[in-house]
Symmetry: D2
Subunit: 126 residues, 4 copies
Amino acid sequence: MDNKMIVAWMESGMMQIPILLMEKYRQIGLDEKELIVLLQVISFIEKGNHFPTPEELSERMTITSKECSLILRRLIQLQLLKIEKDNSEEVRSEKYSVAPLWTKLADELMSEQKQKDLQTVLDEGQ
Amino acid sequence: MDNKMIVAWMESGMMQIPILLMEKYRQIGLDEKELIVLLQVISFIEKGNHFPTPEELSERMTITSKECSLILRRLIQLQLLKIEKDNSEEVRSEKYSVAPLWTKLADELMSEQKQKDLQTVLDEGQ
Amino acid sequence: MDNKMIVAWMESGMMQIPILLMEKYRQIGLDEKELIVLLQVISFIEKGNHFPTPEELSERMTITSKECSLILRRLIQLQLLKIEKDNSEEVRSEKYSVAPLWTKLADELMSEQKQKDLQTVLDEGQ
Amino acid sequence: MDNKMIVAWMESGMMQIPILLMEKYRQIGLDEKELIVLLQVISFIEKGNHFPTPEELSERMTITSKECSLILRRLIQLQLLKIEKDNSEEVRSEKYSVAPLWTKLADELMSEQKQKDLQTVLDEGQ
């Protein structure tokens, strides 16, 4: 019985998120609800649903599907999420990509790195 | 240059969260802010800080440290988070444990499983 | 340019393995090549190929496809891997499941836990 | 009882490895035993032991500590692993870093990307 639980647990899946996202979401202009919508989109993609509807998202959240729609639109405007054509199936369809999010986080990491390097140079110059 | 980025990216770390948590947090009584506080606590633990203060949490969030305090208290009352004695260091201190969260999620998984099993029995009986 | 790398890196994917598997594979009767075959199967599943052939496996390994076949058979005999019917597609096909591996690891964890509990009882009895 | 298992399972930890490593280890000159030594080093680091000895490594493996020593040396020569000074503790000590491994994998990814881009250009030119 115990072991059936472990199998169910493993099969329900894990998602991985860069700790950087937890550290920087405020700096890239997001609040908690917007971050959760992003994480929900990632979790749906992980499970094979690449284009969750606002209804599917809101079912798991404390916000309405209308609010979800607005947040999705805002995430696209902020260039953290984009919609791509999905050519994997015969029927033409669309899918979300979070590639822009990784790009934005990488920007943050890079500018942080540069500042550290600059600080080191300044410190050594003293 | 590119490769230095990958190293910085990998060293900034990833955290793993059960997709079940994204699916069920509303059912176990949490809203988006409370979930993010939980995830922040997990991300701090991942990085070796086992007892982040409300100030450390709120620095990365859009809420005040006072609101963080209230949420932490609520998470403990909901039995999703607990405070343990940390005996790993010489100085006596405290640390958070999210063990109660995994227990609660496992409960959810189990009752879901039972309902499915029951449904199968009912369906077969027809 | 840098950022394109991060996106390519994230999209190439990560797999998660229980540290327990690294600690216990020898105890459950595996050697290094057998463990890698298991990990390769998991990595293929993660990428959507649920029934990699011995040829696909051996292409990434230092062993022949024939040796891969033998190892796959052995993993099935050891009840760490099983073949299931895949009903997700229209065409009937087969897929691997590593559920038996999680069960075996959970067994190991449980017997370890029991031994610890017993030791505690014995220690307290003195 | 079931739920205690889940907590023990989660606390035993997960490690994340880039699927790229599974795909490319042969190309970067490793065999299965060498890959497992690398993965074991990563799993020890994950659990807080940043400088596992050959003895600690071989205890979990089917190879001797002497063979582990040789493999560790080879991984350092191949520039996939390096030894750094660990300044986190008061006592001076050493620790392993797998940063060179990520760099090497990023190299592989980049040269693959370039080849694809070149192919696209060639295909379009026809």
